[in-house]
Symmetry: C2
Subunit: 325 residues, 2 copies
């Protein structure tokens, strides 16, 4: 019997309007729609090997055998794919990231987008990107956005077939630069996977979700019109809204570190002084500082002059799912 | 003509359930009720001199002539008192604090409580503490609470006569210790006086207010039962809720400094390790760390071992309004 394999590459994305909380956890229907930019230069490469002789799934990440919890999550996701495509073979998965995990760069987004795509190639299926977006959503909500390049909106939807992401503008539309400021490589105490389940324990989550449609509209408009100032205001507000919910959930999630606050305040001050900069922060301490191509070198110098900055990754609008073959 | 004078002393207070935003700014009716502890050891002493010969009010704080903005605010408050008591003389005011202003210790609370009380003595009036609480509310909302000793609740009310504070337990009820951690003496960019007007620009303020009745009930219960763990959870949640609103108002108010985040996380960790500690933070970077009489020395040592801690003031449940004569 021939051993089948398939490979795919996906990049993480950073959301301007963030996904936090599910209205249906089982179907992974998010409480609100979200809007992101796929990040170039950062990638997860995944190969899936299928073999009827395997008695269980296995997972190697960056050359190391994964622990039971990541394997369990991946295996559960594979079960969904197997059921969807009427398959039964177990899979051996090899995945490599070119960026550090657990730092607020959404590694689960690129991981599950690449895994969904690689799996379909291994079984000889060629679903379109909408179907891939729906499928990868079951692994990690934000993976649905990493299927697409450039600027991407994920519609919350009322049922599974309506909850997928689409590109709203290609990478060439706007040459934004994302300076990803690494303040620490420590693993998070509570990952975003577990955090989503806490969202509804915050007395503020409902209000955040209710207000989301107008933020999505403003954010989409800002991107389509390349309106930096509008995007700055709405992205910082949305980031603060998500962290407000995290800070007030039970138990509270305090993802910020001292350096995070320093960067938030510095970036706001720089913008008041006339620099085109804004921040957005995922479920971790690191700060994404957006700026323009023209100003990114001077902004980078300012960032590196601050204490507690360990490293800065430079990213721009990037590609969606792709295949190395 | 005899020059009349009156003096009073008031202490600041720290709220477990915080006042943020007004439902009626003109009448200073707060959006939600609040609950606080009056702080001993810290005080504002104020003397009001009345003289028909004065052509305008004057204000000396800590030996220095106050600038036009503080004088304008005080003079506007005196107008309310003059109208209420059918008076017309201008006032020369001397006020002294034994604690640094602009550090998140609510100096306006003790200032306006002391001013209201000193003024009534100067005109020979002896209103009861409920009336004093109502009157001082017009100077600063939280001043209504500083009239009373110990543990104090301010009822929001629907009209001015219903919006006053009352003691719910005397200072002797519970020997809590408040370690007030000074991380910086810089004056705030936006004081709480201006900040209240921004509360309703946050998409989260309504939800914070709606949820307040249950927090007030839990907090009152925690205090009456001396339930430290319940008070810890509810006070930290309430503090985070207020800062969540601040962070998401337009413009956002980021009162926290890097040291604030470090202290918030350290205090939570210490509590998880078994120490009776919790934090609450007013409109400033400094952190109030509550603990018990037994543990306060070991907590103090832990606090002083952290970086960015400039000073720690130690306070306990304190007296309300009092008269030096």
């Amino acid at each position: 019997m021939v051993k089948e394999s398939g490979s795919a590459i996906a990049s993480p994305n950073i959301a301007f309007i963030k996904y936090w909380g599910n209205k249906n956890s089982e179907l992974r229907l998010p409480s609100n729609g979200s809007l992101s930019m796929t990040l170039n230069g950062l990638e997860t490469r995944t190969t899936v090997y299928l073999d009827p002789g395997l008695s269980s799934d296995s997972l190697i990440i960056n050359g190391e055998t994964a622990g039971p919890l990541p394997l369990q999550r991946v295996s559960g996701f594979l079960d969904i794919l197997r059921q969807h495509f009427n398959q039964k073979d177990c899979a051996a998965i090899e995945s490599n990231n070119n960026f550090p995990p657990g730092t607020g760069i959404a590694s689960s987004a690129s991981a599950f987008a690449a895994l969904a795509a690689a799996y379909t190639r291994a079984i000889g299926e060629f679903p379109d990107n909408r179907e891939l977006s729906i499928l990868s959503r079951f692994g990690s909500g934000s993976a649905s956005r990493s299927i697409h390049s450039g600027f991407v909106e994920w519609y919350a939807g009322e049922k599974s077939s309506e909850s997928y992401a689409e590109q709203i503008a290609p990478p060439s539309h706007w040459n934004l630069v994302d300076l990803i400021i690494i303040t620490g490589y420590a693993h998070k105490k509570v990952g975003s996977f577990a955090g989503h389940a806490l969202a509804d324990t915050s007395p503020l989550q409902h209000a955040r979700v209710q207000n989301c449609r107008s933020r999505l509209d403003s954010c989409r408009t800002a991107i389509l019109n390349r309106d930096f100032e509008l995007l700055a205001e709405i992205a910082e507000l949305d980031s603060n809204l998500m962290h407000a919910v995290m800070l007030t959930s039970s138990p509270p999630l305090i993802y910020w570190e001292p350096a995070t606050i320093l960067l938030m305040k510095s970036i706001r001050t720089w913008r008041e002084e006339g620099l085109p900069v804004f921040y957005t922060i995922d479920a971790g301490p690191n700060v994404h500082c957006f700026t323009t191509e023209q100003e990114h070198e001077s902004v980078l110098r300012k960032i590196k002059s601050l204490p507690s900055v360990q490293d800065v990754l430079i990213s721009r609008p990037g590609e969606g799912i792709r295949y190395p073959d």
